[in-house]
């Protein structure tokens, strides 16, 4: 036996005062009595044998010395060499994905897993070390290897379930790395088994190994918390602006019945809490219902889909789940299998519908009804028509110059059609007769859904540009007839076709061309603001006018927790007619990515600066950054908050204070069919361990038993003293 703290043995000197005090007995209490007549009878009748009399006095001393010895030994912390040899390294991998919220096990799968983790901690043997890893989308070490039981318990108490999808493989790999080369390493995976089939690295541990394994194949044990629970959830919800209707939008919703019985429910759609549609659904077992729903809205807002009135149809005997519960331990606590919706996280989904903004258009023309009507047909356009060039050009309007060109082009957004003369940016060349468009930029959003190669253009002007241009359409001779003019004081499009002599005005391409140009001028790319799945990242880009310098940008989670927005600030000037703070966010991978690149390229000459907590665009600059991973379902906001509140990370604002107006919103949904399917994979059902994960009670350190014996001796000594069997 070895002592961890041998110096504590010096405390044995405390035995000396005990012996001294025992020898120097304290003076007894004197009690006068009227007669000793009866006491004599008592004590003389059965005189104690001298041996016991002496021994019972000695016994008290021996008990006290023994108690002292036990306490000193426990402080010295003795241990045996074999305890070191048999010490284990355990990694508890706890699945905290969204499916662990299911309540088919009381109170939830996650709580059951957490309770099992507590039991494992409570059953740790002496010198055992335990680490806890959270398995979500990415593995996370909740606490590293430690043998300190209270710390582990506090860590387990602080864990919470998330809305993330499950990725067990990286967590198990991380657990193996934590174990390293230890001979008695074990990875205990507490999961509900709601994951896709694991790949090769898990094949070996999926089978519980009965023998010791090599270091890189540490023993992996699965404990599955889950049953064949029924669930129905929204597995897809997106919205985008209509390509045809300027104020229309399309919502894509998908609902999956992940159960063995038919389920009836209702899908309710609301836009900013105003009901817009209710769809009754009758879902067969395993069916996924999907539909695109077309609606109109100018202002946009928060679109929310909710599953309500979920009820199970009366199952037939053949449709009852045959597999039953997968784990003996949780089955005792399992709820009735008739609950058709064991997971509520996927019963709601959100999407952000970008608003449409009215645009002012000033048309300067000597008279072309087709041109005028194509703008007036757009409900988002307010048209003003003039026949002569104005002295001052409005800054908030798109100016359309038809057969009018000033000597110097005004700043702002310009659409020049059939210019009748030169200006500071071009010269007029010879007329192009019977021009045929042979080349057009199909990647440009300005040319989306447009074909000009079959348009008859009897007459067009050849323009010789003085500044850089981006050619959108050109003739067979290479002369541009539709081009974007690169200039610093505003956007400018030039169309050199004579509308009166061409049939362009009669073609469907013309209103599409005008609509594309209006969208390009407006700079709005929000036709699709993607709803993200939990755990996703989002690129956020904001432009704003100067505001209070003390304000900083914060990310506000659906539960109200605010964290600083790590962003890059560029000093890009505002040249669009967008509102003071416009929603120009671009989700990663969205169709508007090229547009964003173009916008960023326009300000590429400015050096980006990284701000820890950027001020809320005090100079009207462009703020861009990544947000995420977004691990909670609901609406995430970018808000402008006070510097004081931003100084503390992960703050929860007081409920008494109204939340700040969001600058940008991101919808995050579960949108994971596997998480909505609460039925464990068959691989996990097969690999679920029946072995006890908790060590026996006798696995405690030696000092524990010493203290236990000392307590027992104390109790015995107290009892004997009270009974006056010892003195």
């Amino acid at each position: 036996m070895t002592f961890a703290l041998p110096i504590a043995l010096a405390l044995a000197a405390l035995a000396l005062p005990i012996i001294v005090f025992y020898i120097l007995k304290l003076r007894l209490r004197r009690v006068p009595v009227s007669t000793n007549l009866f006491w004599k009878q008592i004590f003389d009748e059965k005189p104690p044998r001298s041996l016991w009399k002496n021994f019972r006095h000695l016994l008290s001393l021996l008990l006290q010395l023994l108690m002292l010895l036990l306490l000193i030994l426990s402080i010295a912390d003795p241990y045996f060499p074999w305890q070191l040899m048999q010490a284990r390294k355990l990694v508890i991998v706890i699945d905290h994905s969204a499916s662990m919220r299911a309540n088919d096990i009381e109170p939830s799968r996650f709580e059951a897993a957490r309770q099992t983790a507590r039991e494992i901690i409570a059953g740790m043997r002496f010198r055992d070390e335990v680490a806890i890893v959270l398995a979500g989308q990415h593995p996370e070490v909740a606490i590293g290897m430690t043998s300190h039981n209270p710390t582990l318990r506090r860590t387990i108490d602080s864990l919470s379930v998330s809305d993330l999808p499950t990725e067990l493989k990286p967590a198990i790999e991380l657990g193996k790395q934590l174990i390293g080369d230890h001979a008695h390493g074990q990875v205990i995976v507490l999961t509900d088994g709601c994951v896709e089939k694991l790949e090769n690295p898990i094949e070996t541990p999926l089978r519980i190994e009965s023998t010791e394994t090599i270091s890189d194949k540490a023993k992996v044990v699965f404990q599955v918390f889950g049953s064949e629970a029924s669930n129905v959830g929204i597995t897809q919800f997106q919205v985008r602006r209509s390509l045809i209707d300027p104020i229309g939008y399309e919502a894509l919703a998908a609902v999956t019945n992940a159960s063995a019985t038919s389920i009836r429910c209702r899908l309710e759609l609301t836009l900013d809490d105003v009901p817009i549609d209710v769809l009754p659904l009758d879902l067969k077992p395993g069916e996924t219902w999907s539909r695109s729903i077309e609606k109109t809205s100018l202002n946009g807002g928060r679109l929310m889909a909710t599953l309500t009135q979920i009820r199970e149809e009366i199952p037939t005997s053949s449709s009852l789940p045959s597999g039953g519960l997968t784990n003996d331990t949780p089955s005792a606590n399992s709820r009735s299998a008739n609950n058709p919706n064991a997971l509520t996280t996927d019963d709601s989904a959100w999407a952000i519908l970008p608003p449409r903004h009215k645009q002012k258009v000033l048309i300067v023309t000597r008279g072309n009804l087709f041109l005028q009507k194509v703008f007036e047909a757009n409900p988002l356009v307010e048209v003003e028509v003039r026949k002569e060039l104005p002295n001052e050009y409005p800054v908030d309007s798109i100016v359309v110059l038809h057969s009018h060109v000033p000597a110097e082009l005004p700043p702002g957004n310009l659409l020049v059609i059939d210019p009748d003369g030169p200006c500071n940016d071009w010269e007029i060349g010879p007329t192009l007769d019977q021009a045929i468009v042979t080349d057009q930029d199909k990647n440009s959003p300005l040319m989306t859904h447009i074909r000009l190669d079959n348009v008859i253009m009897p007459q067009a002007k050849q323009l010789q540009f003085k500044t850089a241009i981006h050619v959108l359409a050109s003739t067979v001779t290479g002369d541009p007839i539709y081009a974007e003019l690169k200039r610093t004081n505003g956007k400018c499009l030039v169309l050199s076709v004579n509308l009166e002599q061409s049939d362009l005005a009669f073609r469907t391409a013309f209103p599409i061309m005008v609509t594309n140009s209006l969208g390009w001028f407006a700079g709005e790319t929000g036709e699709l603001q993607e709803s993200l799945a939990t755990g996703g990242m989002s690129n956020v880009e904001l432009t704003s006018q100067p505001s209070e310098p003390s304000k900083v940008l914060m990310i506000r989670s659906p539960s109200g927790i605010q964290t600083p927005f790590q962003a890059i600030v560029t000093s890009k000037p505002i040249t669009t007619t967008s509102p003071p703070i416009s929603r120009t966010a671009l989700a990663a991978g969205s169709p508007s990515q090229p547009e964003r690149d173009t916008a960023l390229a326009a300000g590429s000459d400015a050096k980006p600066s990284v701000a820890e907590e950027p001020a809320a665009s005090a100079d009207g600059s462009l703020v861009a950054g990544k947000v995420g991973p977004l691990n909670e379902i609901g609406i995430w906001n970018v808000v402008s908050a006070d510097g004081e509140s931003a100084s503390a990370t992960n703050t929860v604002p007081s409920k008494d204070v109204a939340p700040p107006e969001p600058l940008y919103e991101i919808a995050v949904n579960l949108s994971n069919a596997r998480e909505s399917d609460l039925r464990p994979s068959k691989e996990f059902q097969a690999s679920n361990t029946n072995q006890p994960l908790v060590s026996s009670w006798l696995g405690r350190p030696v000092w524990f038993y010493l203290i236990f014996i000392a307590c027992a001796l104390t109790t015995t000594e107290w009892f004997l003293y009270q009974r006056r069997l010892i003195t």
Binding site: L28, R29, R30, V31, P32, V33, S34, T35, N36, L37, F38, W39, K40, Q41, I42, F43, R723, R724, T727
Partner: protein, 291 residues
Amino acid sequence: MLFPPDFLTRLEYLSIISKRVFRGSLLAQRRTMQMGSGIEFSDHREYTAGDDLRYLDWNIYARHGDLLLKRFQEEQDLHVYLMLDCSRSMAFGNPVKFDLARHLTAALAYIALADLDRIAIVAFANGILTEFPVTRGKARILPIMKFLENTSTAGEATDLGRAVQGLLHRGSRTGLAVVISDLFDEHGFQRGLDQLRYRRFDTHVIQLHDPKEADPALLGDVELVDVETDSVRKVTVTEKSIRTYKRYFSEHQTAVREYCRGYSLGCTQSPSTVPFDDLIMRMMRAAGAKG
């Protein structure tokens, strides 16, 4: 102050009660067991030579021819001996037993004096310590009270037998002997009472005890100091030994009671917390029921 101002008033009340209800039954005005020259016929016995012929019952002789002598019960003053235990064990308790014992002694003395009897007080412990000589007349109550006030607990262990022996050696006439004591006599209380009984004393025992003697609040390691002998005994008092003590104490009380009943002696047992007049009344009621 041992005797409060209203003490005499309470004694007078007790005296009246005793005359009205228990007349002749308690102390005075009772016939002695002596045969003598009284006027009240008692019984006959056979004539022997030398007997006084005046007491020959001639009517019996005339009818049956038998010579029988008439016997008469002698009427004389009753001598009452109040034996007060003054051992140091009587100073034990709260209130101390000795105070109650002196109150009882004074009360019984007053009742006896009021009935024209003669009384004597004998203070004893391991022998006779002091005594108040035989006296009569109600007027003597004040000296008696003064005597009792001046009497204190002293002496060594109680020895009732030796005290009675001393009383008898003084040639005292037989009469009523009232023993007021706790009877914690290591030699046995029976020895002294036996001697009184042999000398044909009418004996009444008043045994006093303190409640703490009956139920001692002791536990643990203690030194028991005997207040009479100053002997010290180191003991470990346990629940079991307390139970044994109570059993022995109860057996002692029972032994006193059984002894008195067996020899037709008056017996009164009381804790020291009972007022003396209540105890006297209880004694008178018991005597009345017996008579």
